[in-house]
């Protein structure tokens, strides 16, 4: 880490390629999943040392949150892990609800669980697509995108947005599902499991796929815990840790699902875990949809939830040429949040996403801290990539399922 700049400088200035061979992978590289930069020390094609350098997508979300009120902060959370933004919304909302002491109605909890699991399916489909593409299987990529497109269309019907949907809000969700959405989701849960099977037939027994994933980047359970890995990566090593089971939030306490685990902790096991999670997510959505009919007509927002600042309708300009000192935002004052602190963590598709918030009694967070899985997972790359080939490094980045928006914040 200390010397990569010096090495770069030396090699560029003196035009001398010393041994070992240094390679700068990224930030503009097609398969580092964004703007991750890896500084590699190679011997032939074997990686001797690997230094991840991050920060190319830093937007200062935590600092920015201190200048916005709680409801506005939810919008920032969309931009963390933009592939599964519903999960981020939920994490933020849970922390703020704890702080304000709000009780979310049951129907809202069910709706949140559904969108969170939809986000998980979206995320895992995108992961499978890019992971397979990185290893060279091009067709899986487009099949996965076809199904993800379907889910994104459902999201569009739910809240109007496809990627950054601030559907979950403090105290509940923004609006109820219509019957059309519920029917569409039922149809999706019917047709999705056979499609998972389709993907598996394409790559599961493919000899080249097995060669590329079995025994690659093995992480033992102990190492995984020491490295702070969470989510499917940890479960692939055989540790059945899942926040949904250990500290159930939303409606996860009342649905039935299995936490799949791997055995060897290699890339193939992590792939199997995620494929199984797709099936389980599908099951959870199905159960939640069944339960939705029990809560027909109930509210989806807690009574004392803070109001959103909603822009007023734009008035027609008056005929007089008098310049207006118009106020475009109108709304009730946000109730002052009591001083205190709150912590909430959820099982986001990539791992454990935790939010810690401190309030000083004003309407804005005094300090907001987000623990994102991608950041921790990137720190595990040097450990996993050691003595592997460049081609394996690509597989490792894929199997960790990192998103740089999530890591750099």
């Amino acid at each position: 880490m200390t010397t990569y700049l010096e090495i770069n400088k030396k090699q560029v200035n003196e035009e001398k390629w010393e041994e070992p061979f240094y390679l700068n992978m990224g930030p503009q590289h097609p398969s580092t999943h964004g703007v991750l930069r890896l500084f590699l020390e190679l011997e032939g094609e074997t990686i001797v040392n690997c230094t991840p350098i991050i920060g190319y997508l830093h937007r200062g979300v935590e600092k920015l949150a201190e200048t916005l009120n709680y409801n506005q902060t939810i919008v920032l959370s969309d931009r963390l892990d933009y592939i599964a933004s519903a999960a981020n919304n939920t994490a933020f909302a849970l922390a703020f609800e704890k702080l304000m002491g709000l009780e979310v109605p049951r129907r809202a909890k069910l709706l949140r669980t559904i969108v969170c699991e939809m986000a998980r399916i979206c995320n895992h489909l995108l992961w499978l697509a890019t992971h397979a593409l990185d290893i060279g299987a091009m067709t899986v990529f487009l099949y996965c995108f076809r199904d993800r497109e379907w889910l994104l269309n459902i999201y569009e019907k739910i809240c109007g947005a496809r990627l950054t949907h601030t559907y979950v809000r403090i105290g509940g969700v923004r609006q109820d599902f219509t019957q059309e959405i519920i029917d569409e989701l039922y149809k999706f849960t019917e047709e999705f499991p056979p499609r998972i099977y389709d993907y598996e037939t394409l790559i599961d027994v493919n000899r080249i796929w097995l060669k590329r994933t079995k025994g690659i980047a093995v992480v033992s359970a102990e190492d995984a815990i020491n490295l702070g890995l969470t989510g499917p990566v940890l479960r692939g090593s055989g540790v059945p840790y899942d926040v949904r089971k250990f500290r159930p939030y939303d409606a996860y306490g009342e649905v039935d699902f299995i936490v799949p685990t791997g055995k060897n902790g290699d890339t193939y096991d992590r792939y199997r875990v995620r494929m199984e999670e797709l099936r389980q997510s599908n099951r959870i959505i199905r159960q939640c949809l069944d339960k939705l009919s029990e809560t027909e007509g109930e509210p989806v927002l807690a009574e004392n939830a803070p109001d959103l600042l909603i822009p007023e309708k734009v008035r027609k300009p008056e005929p007089k040429p008098v310049p207006k000192k118009g106020v475009i935002f109108k709304g009730e004052e946000v109730p002052v949040v009591p001083p205190g602190e709150a912590f909430a963590s959820i099982e986001s598709p990539k791992g454990e996403l935790a939010v810690y918030v401190v309030s000083d009694g004003s309407g804005k967070p005094w300090r907001l801290r987000v623990r994102t899985p991608s950041f921790v997972h990137i720190s595990a790359i040097p450990f996993m990539a050691k003595n592997h080939l460049i081609a394996d490094l690509i597989a490792i980045i894929g199997t960790l399922d990192i998103v740089l928006g999530d890591s750099d914040r």
């Binding site: 035009e15 061979f21 240094y22 390679l23 700068n24 590289h29 097609p30 398969s31 094609e45 397979a132 593409l133 990185d134 290893i135 060279g136 299987a137 091009m138 067709t139 990529f141 487009l142 099949y143 076809r146 394409l202 790559i203 493919n206 080249i208 796929w209 060669k211 590329r212 080939l389 460049i390 081609a391 394996d392 690509i394």
Partner: protein, 326 residues
Amino acid sequence: MGEVIDRLISIIIAAVILLVIALLHVAYLTYAERKIIARMQQRLGPNRVGPRGLLQPIADMLKLLTKEDLIPYGVDKPIFYIAPFISLVCAGTGVALIPLWEKFVLSNINVGILFILALSSLSAYGVILSGWASNSRYAFLGGLRASAQVISYEIAMSLALLSVVLMAGSLNLVDIVNAQINSPYKIYLIPQIIAFYVFIISAIAECNRVPFDLPEAETELVAGYFVEYSAMRFAIFYLAEYFGMVVMSALAVTCFLGGWVGPFKVPYVPFFWFLIKLYFLLFVYIWVRATLPRYRYDQLMGLGWKVLIPVGIINLFLTAFLKLIF
């Protein structure tokens, strides 16, 4: 004197015809590849330029011709300029030796197979030199990979072809086809099925196609050896790759599938059977590309040296042994 000139003119005309046909095939091979893969992946493929996107290859060519030809700082200029042409010439010249029909061989030399093998070995130089001259680390790694790959798969391919040569007793491609027709099975695919497999796998590797596209592994080395190239030089590498596919498939048709001969004669279209077989093999190339992931570098070398070459040698010995007995 007049005879010589007549002969020269007829050769030139034949060469031009062949070149045009080959270029059209290569251009529309890219189109076919995009369309077929699109179909396999449930999307549309090119469909904007011309009816059903049929003018897409021409549009691509025009676009690449009018692009600026960037020469990066610090490249070895003469080698950088010439490397794509080495690739293209070596890949394309092989077409001249393929007997499309009994009476249509541009250059019917008595060491046809040897010449094609030599050319395909030479085309590796284009790849290596471009990787070396680019002064880029990705290109350098791509060049290294390419040289190792081409050298090791060259051997397997030669072994497979040697079995055919043993059976036919000639290195001349026309003689090989004639020997196939006179053999009991009509084509060498049946007695030489192992050699055929070895040849097809090596041919895919030789052309740097999926699953052996390591030198240009897009997700690892960005684009491998031609990462620094742009405009027409970039396109020439692609042309060379597709020419390589056509030549290798044509060689397979000639050596294993009986060349221009088919179950019955199609009047007025002497190339019919040859082209049908050629298209089928090209389709296999594309099909494989849509299906398989990419090998890792060491696994690729392992497959070449530990599987294909021993199998090729055993097959060669068996052929020689059986030839001796009968």
